[in-house]
C-alpha cells in the first residue's frame, strides 16, 4: 500500500466525515469518522464513476473526483468548524475516561483494533504466490465469489467498462450492484495491483463495519454491553449445524491441534442442510456488496431512529438519498432499508417521512428496474429447506432446519422484540418479513440466494438478541450461566469459521487459483488487446482473460450468470460448437462479435476431446479462428478480426 492509497483513504473518509454534518444528528467525533468511511466510499464511488465515464479510470480521474468531492464538502467543514473543534476536544477529553464509562471512546477503538487485525490477517491470506509464479486462493470466498468480482473490478480498471456491459457475458447489460467493485477499481490508478485493490478496499470497509454496528446498536440498545453483544452475535453467527462435527468428531479425534488445521466450515455445509453461512466468512468477504450494504443499512436505520421525534427534513433527505443510491451498491440493503423505512413511515403517518421516501424511491426504483433480469426466475414456494437429505417438509423438519441454520437466534430475537416493545413499539416487527420472504418465494433464480434475506434478518435482529443477553448477564447467577451458554451456542460455529480464515492454513486452502502461465496470458491480454475486445474462452470458475485483464468474454461461470438471469445455456452450446468445429466458427464469431479466441488448458479440458488434447493442437485446424497473435507452451490466442472481417 503506497502513500497515494493512504491519502485516498484518508481523503474519502474525510469527505464522508464532513457529510455526516448534513444529517443534523449529534454524533461524536469517532462516530463521524466510522460513518464517514462508509458514506465517503459511497460518495467517492458515485462521483468517481461519473468522472471516469468522461476521462477513464486514470489517476486524473481520482484527482478530479477527490477535488470535486472536497469542493462540495468544504463549505460544510467551514460552517461546522467550531463544532469539529469542540468534538475534537471532547474526544481528547473522553479518551482519558475509563473504558467502562459510557462516554469513553475506548470500547469503540478496541473494536476497531480487533477488526483491523482480523480483517488485515484474513485479507492478507486472500491471495498468495504459487511455486510456478501463479496465484493461490486463501479461502473459499476468494476462490468462489471473488473470481467474478475480479472480472468486474478488472473490467473497470483495465477495460473502461463505463457503458456497463457485463464482462462475463458479451452483449449483456451489467445489471448488478457493482458499486463496491468500481470502488475497488478506483485504487488501481493509485498504484495498487488488481488483487491488492480488492484486498485494500475490502479491508477498509470490513474494519469499519463492526464499529459502525457498535455505534448503531449503542443507540438502539439500552446499554453498551448489549451493543457489544449484538455485534458479537451477528459477526459470529452460524447456527448450530455442524458444531456437533467439531465437538463430537474433530476435537476428540485430533485434540486442540485441530484448531491449526480445521477441516471444514462449521457454519456452511450446503449438503448438510446448513445454508445460512457466517456473516463474515460467508457474506462480508465473499459477497462484496455487503461491505457497503450492511453498514449503509445500519447507518440509515440509525438516522431514521435518531430522527424519530425530531422529524428533521434534512435528516430524512440525507437518509433518503443515501438509500436511493444503495441499489448501485447492494440491492438487498436497499430492500431492507425500504422495508424498515416504509413500515416506520406507515407507523408514524407523518408527511415528513416523504422527505425520506421520495428521494429513496425516485433514485432507487429506476436502478432497481434496470437491474431486473430479462429472464423471469422468480417462483413461489413454501418452507425454505435445502440440503442433501430429503426433507419431509413437516413442521418439525422446518424447525430443525432453522435451528441448524440459526440456532436459538430467532427465539431470542422474538424475546427481544417482546422485552423492548416499550422502547421500539412495533418498529422492529418488519424485520420478520425478512424471514417470511425466503419461506414463500425464490426471487433470485436459485433458492440458495434466500440466505441473503436471512442474513439481513440476523443483522437487524442482533440488537434485540443483544438486549436479551445483556439483561440475562445483569441478572442472577443462573441467568448469567444461561447467558454464557446461549452466547456459546450462538457464536461457536461462526467463531470457528472466522478463526479458520484468520489462521490461514486450514485445508484445502491455499489452493492453486491461476497458474504462472495464466498470469502471463492475463498480462499479455491486458497490455496488448483493445479494451472493448470480446474473447471466446472457457467458462470456468476463473479465467485469466476475465480475471486479470477484465476483457469481456462470451461466457463466464454459468452458475453466477444464472444468478443474474442470463441465458447461459445457449452461450455454452455456442462455445462448445466453436471449439469443436472451428471450420464453422464464423457464425458464432459474428454472433458475439468475438475478436479473440483463446485456446489454453481450460479450453482444452472443457471443449476439446481428450484424444485430440493429447496430440497437441493442429495449426491447420485452429487457423480457422484467425491469426495466431500469442502463444506460450500451453496457450494460443487467435485474433479473428471479427469487427472488420
Amino acid at each position: 500500500m503506497n502513500l497515494l492509497v493512504v491519502l485516498f483513504i484518508l481523503g474519502f473518509a474525510s469527505i464522508g466525515f464532513s457529510l455526516t454534518y448534513v444529517t443534523s444528528i449529534n454524533l461524536r467525533l469517532e462516530e463521524r469518522v466510522c460513518f464517514g468511511v462508509v458514506i465517503g466510499s459511497v460518495m467517492i464511488s458515485i462521483v468517481g464513476f461519473a468522472v471516469a465515464s468522461l476521462v477513464g479510470a486514470t489517476g486524473l480521474m481520482v484527482i478530479i473526483t477527490v477535488a470535486f468531492c472536497v469542493a462540495i464538502v468544504s463549505p460544510l467543514v467551514f460552517l461546522n468548524r467550531k463544532t469539529i473543534k469542540i468534538e475534537l476536544n471532547s474526544f481528547l477529553h473522553r479518551a482519558t475516561y475509563s473504558w467502562k464509562d459510557k462516554d469513553s471512546p475506548k470500547p469503540l477503538l478496541g473494536i476497531l483494533l480487533i477488526s483491523a487485525v482480523m480483517a488485515i490477517r484474513i485479507l492478507q491470506n486472500a491471495f498468495g504466490k504459487t511455486l510456478d509464479g501463479g496465484i493461490s486462493a486463501g479461502h473459499l470466498s476468494v476462490y468462489g465469489d471473488w473470481s467474478a468480482h475480479l472480472s468486474y473490478v478488472a473490467s473497470f480498471a483495465y477495460a473502461d467498462n463505463f457503458s456497463l456491459n457485463l464482462p462475463t457475458a458479451a452483449g449483456e447489460s451489467f445489471a448488478y450492484h457493482f458499486g463496491v467493485d468500481w470502488f475497488s477499481a478506483m485504487f488501481i490508478p493509485l498504484g495498487l495491483s488488481l488483487l491488492g485493490s480488492l484486498e485494500v478496499s475490502t479491508a477498509v470497509l470490513a474494519i469499519a463495519f463492526p464499529a459502525v454496528m457498535f455505534i448503531v446498536c449503542e443507540r438502539l440498545c439500552s446499554n453498551r454491553a448489549a451493543a457489544g453483544v449484538s455485534v458479537g452475535v451477528f459477526l459470529t453467527a452460524g447456527g448450530t449445524g455442524a458444531l456437533y462435527r467439531f465437538f463430537i468428531e474433530d476435537l476428540p479425534e485430533r485434540g486442540f491441534s485441530v484448531l491449526a488445521d480445521l477441516p471444514r466450515s462449521y457454519s456452511f455445509d450446503g449438503f448438510d442442510r446448513n445454508w445460512v453461512d457466517n456473516p463474515v466468512t460467508g457474506f462480508l468477504y465473499p459477497q462484496r456488496p455487503t461491505l457497503i450494504g450492511f453498514s449503509s443499512t445500519l447507518i440509515i436505520i440509525f438516522l431514521l431512529w435518531m430522527n424519530r421525534d425530531r422529524h428533521n427534513a434534512k435528516t430524512y433527505i440525507f437518509a433518503g438519498v443515501f438509500a436511493g443510491i444503495l441499489p448501485v451498491f447492494h440491492v438487498f440493503a436497499f430492500g431492507a432499508v425500504l422495508l424498515m423505512g416504509g413500515c416506520w413511515a406507515a407507523i408514524y403517518r407523518s408527511r415528513s417521512w416523504l422527505f425520506f421516501l421520495f428521494p429513496s424511491l425516485c433514485l432507487g426504483i429506476p436502478v432497481l428496474l434496470w437491474q431486473l433480469p430479462e429472464r423471469d426466475g422468480s417462483e413461489w414456494h413454501t418452507l425454505w429447506m435445502l440440503g442433501k437429505s430429503s426433507w419431509e417438509r413437516t413442521p418439525l423438519d422446518f424447525l430443525s432446519f432453522w435451528f441448524l441454520n440459526t440456532g436459538l437466534f430467532i427465539p431470542l430475537a422474538l424475546a427481544g422484540t417482546l422485552i423492548t416493545i416499550k422502547r421500539f413499539g412495533y418498529r422492529f416487527l418488519p424485520i420478520y418479513v425478512l424471514l417470511i420472504i425466503p419461506n414463500i418465494a425464490i426471487w433470485h433464480f436459485w433458492p440458495g440466494n434466500n440466505a441473503k434475506y436471512v442474513v439481513f434478518f440476523l443483522l437487524l435482529a442482533s440488537p434485540l438478541v443483544g438486549e436479551v443477553l445483556s439483561r440475562l448477564f445483569a441478572h442472577s447467577t443462573a441467568a448469567k450461566i444461561l447467558a454464557v451458554l446461549l452466547v456459546f451456542s450462538l457464536t461457536s460455529s461462526g467463531a470457528l469459521d472466522i478463526w479458520r480464515a484468520f489462521e490461514g492454513s486450514s485445508g484445502p486452502y491455499p489452493a492453486n487459483y491461476l497458474s504462472g502461465e495464466d498470469v502471463l496470458v492475463g498480462e499479455w491480454v491486458r497490455d496488448n488487446t483493445d479494451q472493448d475486445a470480446v474473447f471466446a474462452s472457457a467458462n470456468t470458475n476463473v479465467h485469466p482473460v476475465r480475471a486479470l485483464a477484465g476483457r469481456t468474454v462470451v461466457l463466464g461461470s454459468p452458475g453466477r450468470l444464472n444468478d443474474l438471469g442470463v441465458d447461459w445455456y445457449r452461450r455454452d452450446q455456442d462455445l462448445r460448437n466453436l471449439y469443436a468445429n472451428p471450420i464453422e466458427a464464423d457464425v458464432i464469431i459474428r454472433r458475439y462479435d468475438i475478436d479473440y479466441i483463446v485456446v489454453g488448458p481450460y479450453e482444452k479440458s472443457m471443449f476439446i476431446p481428450e484424444s485430440d488434447r493429447n496430440q497437441g493442437i493442429d495449426d491447420s485446424y485452429l487457423n480457422h479462428f484467425g491469426a495466431l497473435v500469442y502463444s506460450t507452451g500451453g496457450y494460443w490466442i487467435y485474433e479473428t478480426q471479427g469487427k472488420n472481417g
Binding site: N2, L3, V6, V117, I120, R121, Q124, K129, L131, D132, G133, G134, G516, E517, V519, L520, T632, G633, G634, Y635
Partner: protein
C-alpha cells in the same frame, strides 16, 4: 504521611524547579499542536514508500531470519546477526501484513516515529523551545530518517535505549517501585536486539559512579541538623528570561547553595560541573590510553584498561563517601542512594526475576528452543549464548576494524549531515556546564560518552551514527532553549531564527534527497558497502517473470545459481523463487545445468565448451563510496581544494577523487544466461534484462574513474 512528605522534600531537593513550569498554558498548547503536526510528518516521512530503496545486505539477512522464525526454522541467537527480538516482531508483521520490502522495514520505521515523539516526555526539562527543536531535529535529521527506513536493528535499538534513558531519569528524579522492573526489562529487551547494550551499560554505569560521588560530596555540604536531608540554601541571582506574552523581564531566580557545618558554602552547580568534566576527561584519557583504533592494539588488555577507568571513578566515589562519613552525612538521604532504596530489596529481586524471565523467553524463542544454533559464534545452549556469546563476540569484534578505520569518522558525518544539531548541542553543552542539573548532566554525559565510545569502538558504520546523534539532538534541544532564553535583542532573535531556518532547510532537503530521491546511491555517506544497486531489484523482478515464461514454454523452472559472494540480498528477493540456489562458484568451475548464473567479477567463468551457449551480461551488484574526506592534504595550500570538494558535495552531491581513485565504486560482476532463455525473453520484454539500471552520473573528478560504471571486467 511522613513518608510522603519526605518523598516530596526529596523530589524538590533532587532537582531545581523545571524550566517548563514558568511557561504559560497557552505556549504549551501551541507546542502541543506543533508536536502533533510534527508527529504526523514523522508518520508520513517514515512510512511512505518504504520499499523504495534496494535492500542492503544486512537488511536482507534480517528479513530472511524473520521469515525463518515465521516458518519455524530459525535456529536461535547467533551474535553475528544480533539479537532475535526484532526477528520475532518482524515475523509478526509478516504474519499479519504479508511479506514485502516495506513490511521488512516496518519495525525500524515505527521505532523511528517513536523516537521523534519521545522528547515530549522531557518537555518540562527541555522547555517549549527545547522540546520543539528536539522533535523537529529528530524529524528532519537525514541520518534519523535514512536509518528509520533501513531494515537493520539500529532504529529499534535506539528507541529502546531512549526508553531506557527516560526510565533512568524518571527513576533518579522521582523513583517508583516499578522503575527497576522497567529498567532491567528494557536492558534485557535491548540485549535481545543488539550487543551495543554493553556500551549503554558502560556509559550509564560510569555516569552512575560519578553521580554517586558528586551526590556524596554534595551531601557533605548539607546541614545535618534541623532537617532530615539537610536543607539546602538558595542564593538569589538575577537572570533575564523571556516570559510568554510579556517579553523579556529581569527576574530573580534562586540557585541552590550547599553549606557545610563549618559554614563553608559551595554551589551545587560547581560540584556537578567539575564532576562531569572529570568523568568525561578521564574517559577520553582512558580511551587514548587504550588506543583510538583498537584494531591496531592487538593484544592490548582493553578490558583491564576500562576496568582501571571504572576503578578510578569508584575510588573517587569512595573518597567522597569517606568524606561524607567523616562529616556524618546520612547516606540514606543521598539522592542516588535514596532512589535505589525506594523499590526496596524485594523490589529489586522482583525486577531481576522479571528480567530473567523475559531474558529466557526471548533467547529460547519463548521457551520453545533451549538448544543453541551450534555455530562457532554461539556454541552453547540458548540461554548461555544470550549471556556469554554476545559479549564474547562483541569483544572480539573490537579487535577487528570493520567499517571505517578513522576515529573522526562520526564527527565528519555529523558535520556533513547534522551540523545544525551539532551546533545547538555545543550550545547545550555550554549551558549544562554553566547551569548543570541532573537532567542536563545526564544528557550531556550521554552525548559526550557516546561520541567518545563509538568513535573509539572498532566497528564504525554509518548506521551507528544514530546512537550518537540522539543524545546530541536532545542536548541540542537544551542548547536551543538556553540560546532562546539568553537572547536579549531583536537582532539576535532574527539571527537565531535565520540559523534555524537554514539548518532545518538543509536537513530537510538533504533528508528528502538521501532517503527518497536518490536514496541508496553511493555518493551518500550513509551508503555502506553492502548496499545493493537498483539493478538487483530489477533482476529479481525479471527472474520471476522469466521463470513463468520458461515454465510455460519449456515446462521447466529456471535454474538460477548465485555465487555466495553476491547471494544477498537475492536470498530475500527470491524467497519464493522455485529454483534459485546459493552456490560457491570458482573461475573454472562451471555450474552445469544452470540457466542463469550470477558471479562477482573475480569469479568470471571460463565457459570452455559452453562458449556460445551463454550470453554474458555485465552487472553491478553493490556500490559504495569511502571518500578520503579528511586526508590527502600534503600541504596547507591544498586545504582550499578540500573545502571546495566538500562544498561541491554539499551542494551537488558530487563526489571527489582525492587522489587514490576513491570514487564511488561497485562490486561488479556478470550474469550468464543461456542463449535460448535470452532469446525467449527478448520476445516478451522490450528490454529483456536490466540495462544496468539508473546509475548516477558524475561530472567532475570521478567521471573517469574506472572502477565505477565502467567495470573492470
Amino acid at each position: 504521611m511522613a513518608s510522603s512528605r519526605i518523598k516530596e522534600t526529596f523530589r524538590r531537593h533532587i532537582d531545581r524547579k523545571p524550566d517548563g513550569a514558568h511557561v504559560s498554558q497557552g505556549a504549551w498548547k501551541r507546542v502541543r499542536h506543533l508536536i502533533g503536526l510534527l508527529f504526523l510528518l514523522a508518520v508520513l516521512s517514515r512510512l511512505s514508500y518504504l520499499g523504495l530503496r534496494a535492500f542492503h545486505h544486512d537488511e536482507s539477512l534480517d528479513a530472511w531470519f524473520s521469515l525463518q522464525y515465521l516458518d519455524g526454522t530459525y535456529k536461535g541467537y547467533d551474535p553475528v546477526y544480533h539479537g532475535p527480538l526484532r526477528f520475532y516482531l518482524t515475523a509478526a508483521f509478516f504474519w499479519l501484513f504479508g511479506q514485502s520490502d516495506s513490511i521488512a522495514r516496518l519495525l525500524p520505521a515505527i521505532s523511528g516515529i517513536a523516537v521523534v515523539l519521545l522528547p515530549w516526555v522531557w518537555r518540562r526539562s527541555l522547555g517549549t523551545i527545547g522540546t520543539s527543536i528536539s522533535v523537529a531535529l529528530l524529524l528532519t535529521s537525514p541520518t534519523m530518517l535514512y536509518f528509520s527506513r533501513f531494515g537493520r536493528e539500529d532504529s529499534f535499538f535506539l528507541a529502546l535505549t531512549f526508553l531506557t534513558v527516560i526510565t533512568l531519569i524518571s527513576f533518579l528524579h522521582s523513583p517508583r517501585r516499578w522503575h527497576p522492573i522497567a529498567l532491567l526489562s528494557l536492558l534485557v529487551l535491548s540485549l535481545a536486539v543488539k550487543e551495543s547494550v554493553f556500551l549503554t551499560v558502560f556509559i550509564f554505569g560510569s555516569f552512575g559512579i560519578v553521580l554517586i560521588a558528586q551526590d556524596l560530596l554534595t551531601g557533605t555540604f548539607h546541614r545535618t541538623k534541623g532537617s532530615l536531608i539537610g536543607k539546602p540554601r538558595y542564593k538569589k541571582l538575577k537572570r533575564e528570561v523571556r516570559i510568554e506574552g510579556v517579553g523579556r523581564r529581569t527576574i530573580s531566580v534562586r540557585s541552590r547553595v550547599s553549606e557545610n557545618s563549618n559554614g563553608q558554602s559551595i554551589s551545587e552547580e560547581v560540584i556537578r560541573r567539575w564532576f562531569f568534566l572529570l568523568g568525561v576527561g578521564l574517559m577520553i584519557a582512558v580511551f587514548l590510553w587504550i588506543g583510538t583504533n583498537p584494531g591496531e592494539q592487538e593484544g592490548s588488555p582493553t578490558l583491564i584498561k576500562l576496568g582501571v577507568y571504572g576503578a578510578v571513578l569508584a575510588f573517587i566515589a569512595l573518597v567522597c563517601g569517606f568524606i561524607a562519613a567523616r562529616r556524618k552525612s546520612m547516606f540514606s538521604q543521598v539522592p542516588v542512594f535514596r532512589a535505589l532504596l525506594v523499590p526496596r530489596f524485594g523490589g529489586w529481586i522482583f525486577a531481576v526475576v522479571i528480567a530473567a524471565i523475559v531474558f529466557v523467553a526471548l533467547f529460547t524463542q519463548f521457551f520453545q528452543q533451549f538448544d543453541g544454533p551450534g555455530v562457532t559464534t554461539a556454541p552453547y545452549g540458548a540461554i548461555r549464548n544470550g549471556l556469554v556469546s554476545g559479549f564474547e563476540y562483541w569483544l572480539g569484534e573490537q579487535a577487528t576494524v570493520r567499517g571505517d578505520s578513522r576515529w573522526q569518522y562520526y564527527l565528519v558525518l555529523l558535520l556533513a549531515y547534522e551540523w545544525i544539531a551539532l551546533g545547538l548541542a555545543f550550545a547545550g553543552l555550554i549551558s549544562v556546564l554553566r547551569k548543570p542539573n541532573l537532567f542536563g548532566q545526564i544528557i550531556a554525559w550521554w552525548a559526550c560518552a557516546s561520541l567518545i565510545v563509538y568513535s573509539w569502538a572498532g566497528e564504525r558504520m554509518p548506521w551507528l551514527l544514530v546512537h550518537l546523534l540522539l543524545p546530541i539532538v536532545i542536548l541540542g534541544g537544551i542548547g536551543a532553549q538556553s540560546i532562546w532564553d539568553g537572547i536579549k535583542s531583536r537582532g539576535a532573535t532574527v539571527c537565531f531564527s535565520l540559523l534555524l531556518i537554514l539548518g532545518f532547510g538543509y536537513a530537510t532537503v538533504t533528508s528528502v534527497y538521501s532517503s527518497y530521491l536518490r536514496g541508496g546511491e553511493p555518493q551518500e555517506l550513509f551508503v555502506q558497502a553492502g548496499q545493493a544497486t537498483p539493478e538487483v531489484v530489477e533482476w529479481a523482478e525479471q527472474l520471476e517473470t522469466l521463470d513463468r515464461i520458461s515454465l510455460a514454454h519449456f515446462g521447466e523452472h529456471l535454474e538460477v545459481k548465485i555465487d555466495s559472494d553476491v547471494y544477498w540480498p537475492y536470498g530475500w528477493y527470491l524467497r519464493d523463487f522455485h529454483s534459485s540456489s546459493y552456490a560457491v562458484i570458482e573461475n573454472e568451475s562451471f555450474p552445469s545445468g544452470a540457466d542463469i548464473i550470477f558471479v562477482p567479477h573475480w569469479d568470471r567463468i571460463n565457459l570452455g565448451d559452453e562458449d556460445g551457449a551463454y550470453l554474458e551480461i555485465p552487472y553491478e551488484h553493490r556500490w559504495w563510496w569511502v571518500p578520503e574526506f579528511d586526508t590527502g592534504i600534503a600541504n596547507p595550500s591544498q586545504f582550499g581544494d578540500l573545502i571546495s570538494a566538500w562544498a561541491d558535495w554539499v551542494w551537488n552531491r558530487e563526489p571527489w577523487d582525492s587522489g587514490s581513485s576513491r570514487c564511488p565504486a561497485s562490486l561488479s560482476g556478470s550474469v550468464y544466461i543461456r542463449e535460448e532463455i535470452f532469446a525467449l525473453a527478448e520476445t516478451y520484454f522490450n528490454s529483456p534484462f536490466p540495462r544496468r539500471g539508473d546509475k548516477p552520473e558524475y561530472k567532475k573528478s570521478c567521471q573517469n574513474v574506472t572502477n565505477f560504471l565502467v567495470s573492470n571486467r
